[in-house]
Amino acid sequence: MNENPSGERKMQCSDESKCFELLESILDGELQDSGKEVLKEKLAKCQPCFEHYHLEQAIRDVLKTKCTKHAVPNELADKIRQQIQDIK
């Protein structure tokens, strides 16, 4: 992802609002193939888009991988099955 150092990117985004909305939709998996080309282009040419994309990606990654999960109490599934048996 990082092969293009910021040297060639413009420092001002021409339409941050539109661009960021698009980047966020792409990160959420809402634009499949059509998004990929646009994304490549933006990340290569625009520094604010590049930074926003990586920050948003990092946030999604840590949420997905690091957010503490709670173990389901052992007896819960059994209790549910028992209750279902009772109403059958």
């Binding site: 941050e16 389901v72 109490p73 819960l76």
Partner: protein
Amino acid sequence: MSEVQRRKYSQEEKNAIFDGEFMPHIDSMYNFGYRLTFDEDDAKDLVQDTYLKAYRFINSFEQGTNAKAWLFRILKNSFINEYRKKSKQPTKVDYQEVETYYNSDDVHYQSTSDLRAESVKDMLGDEISNALNSLAVDFRTVIILCDLEGFTYEEMAKILDIPIGTVRSRLHRARNLLKEKLQGYAQNMGYNTDEEE
């Protein structure tokens, strides 16, 4: 998700759907319940209640459609309609207030923080969890559904009974609020937030 009953399942089919399509989501359901209520017993009650309702209304579940989204919608509705009503301490901000306060789907997307991707990557699971838990329930909910559970905007719209545009804008605001929290942690921890490395 339509309430129309297509046909009646036989007892055998009911069992197969319940065990094969509903029960495998108990982990996600429990975590959703826990993140809504922050209480193990309340989370258990919500999950049990959801499964009982799911069984009772199993004829309105269309086999082969997204069981997880169907179950999440039931749990969310139980949380709003029953849990919140009987809970003695109402949540500070509720759905209605949030909707009136942010009554427009028209969000201006812009960079709102100096938070850097590198400092986010260094954060601990507890910091991320605490930041998420500190958000108002509507904002917390969209992040849980999207990032932790991987639902699409369309699925989230159905689970929450709101238009896709509202899903998108609420999610955007939720992540901005989360970034503010994380930035606070980053500053406290002395992470680099405003300079190139």
